[in-house]
């Protein structure tokens, strides 16, 4: 049972660990109880270290990876689907793109609203806390840019792999820096509805992507690989789950 409690952050364990342990000893330790403790522990770990706004930013970044997977998967799909059968996948694809634009606008709006508080924090010594993560993010961005140039010049598979890895790392590094900054940003009332908009657009994109896949798969069963589909769906689901946790924390 003590092992289960290790999932919780140390500070939380020090305060509530004994009480939770006493309660677990008084209750039958079923799989439902174990799952509840694991899920709650993960939630405390996530929400205890990352502010709700940071969670939404992380969620968007994770979802973007899924979106990139969908974008790559759907390249040249018109070639394998006859013109008469393109109506449904075309609408589904357009819906995904429209939802992506709205979701991105909501994220940008949230960031813009936090800027005044962010600038105030920078002026009062916040830069020293952010300098290292921003330098790392900048370095990974430069590496990704260099790899992209190499891909453009040489069409090299190694450079392409370096580009993909460094681009993902760069996205996560910037998100980490932004989430750190969000810790000290004042609460903005509009963040809750904006985060809810982000979740809604994620759900629309997942539904749109699923409809697109079903429609294309009906005409070209081998066009989308199982691995591509699994990776895209995993990132999209994980992003949506994270964003939902962020929204719940923002509204609490």
């Amino acid at each position: 049972m003590k092992l289960l409690l290790r999932i919780y952050p140390r500070r939380w364990r020090e305060r509530y660990g004994d009480e939770l342990l006493a309660l677990l000893e008084a209750e039958p330790l079923t799989w439902r109880v174990r799952a509840d403790v694991v899920a709650s522990g993960l939630r405390e770990r996530l929400c205890g270290t990352v502010p709700p706004q940071g969670l939404v930013l992380w969620a968007w970044s994770v979802f973007v990876i899924g979106g990139m997977g969908f974008q790559k998967t759907s390249e040249h799909w018109q070639v394998v689907v006859a013109a008469n059968d393109r109506a449904v996948p075309t609408v589904a694809f357009d819906v995904v793109q429209a939802a992506a634009a709205i979701g991105s606008a909501a994220v940008l709006a949230g960031v813009t609203l936090a800027l005044p508080s962010f600038v105030r924090d920078l002026r009062s010594g916040g830069w020293s806390r952010l300098r290292r993560p921003i330098l790392i993010a900048s370095a990974t961005t430069l590496l990704a840019a260099a790899a992209l140039v190499a891909v453009a010049l040489h069409h090299d598979i190694v450079a392409a792999s370096i580009f993909v890895v460094s681009a993902v790392f760069s996205l996560f590094a910037w998100t980490h820096a932004a989430a750190l900054a969000a810790r000290r940003v004042a609460k903005v009332r509009a963040h809750a509805p904006l985060a809810l908009t982000v979740v809604a657009t994620m759900i629309v994109m997942m539904v749109g992507a699923a409809v697109w896949f079903a429609a294309v798969n009906a005409h070209a069963p081998s066009f989308v690989g199982a691995a591509q589909l699994a990776v895209t769906a995993t990132f999209m689901l994980a992003g949506t789950a994270l964003a939902t946790t962020g929204v719940r924390s923002l509204r609490a």
Binding site: R15, E19, L20, A22, L23, V33, A35, V38
Partner: protein
């Protein structure tokens, strides 16, 4: 109606209780069996918001009680729910 925080505030409105007593009481009046992790997650958030406060621990079991802010929060939530219930009841009346 099964928000853990609201269920805990409702349970504590009849007096201080520790974790296990809260679980049993909530089960008896709401028919909801909260998981231990869910219960303590909600307790920590309520305490953080100043809606409940801990009392002296009895061995490893620590009772909690409502604060003045918690009582106000519970009253506000119940008033909001009552308004919804009244609206739904009046709208359903012509149907039934």
């Amino acid at each position: 109606m099964n928000d853990p925080g609201l269920l805990i505030l409702t349970s504590l409105s009849s007096g201080p209780k520790h974790g296990h007593a809260l679980l049993l009481d909530i089960d008896s009046f709401a028919g909801v069996r909260l998981g231990p992790g869910t219960l303590y997650g909600a307790i920590s958030r309520l305490e953080e918001r100043g809606l409940i406060e801990p009392l002296a621990a009895d061995d490893r079991r620590r009772p909690y009680r409502l604060t003045a802010a918690g009582t106000t929060e519970l009253a506000d939530s119940l008033a909001a729910m009552r308004q919804i219930v009244d609206t739904a009841t009046s709208r359903l009346a012509p149907v039934t």
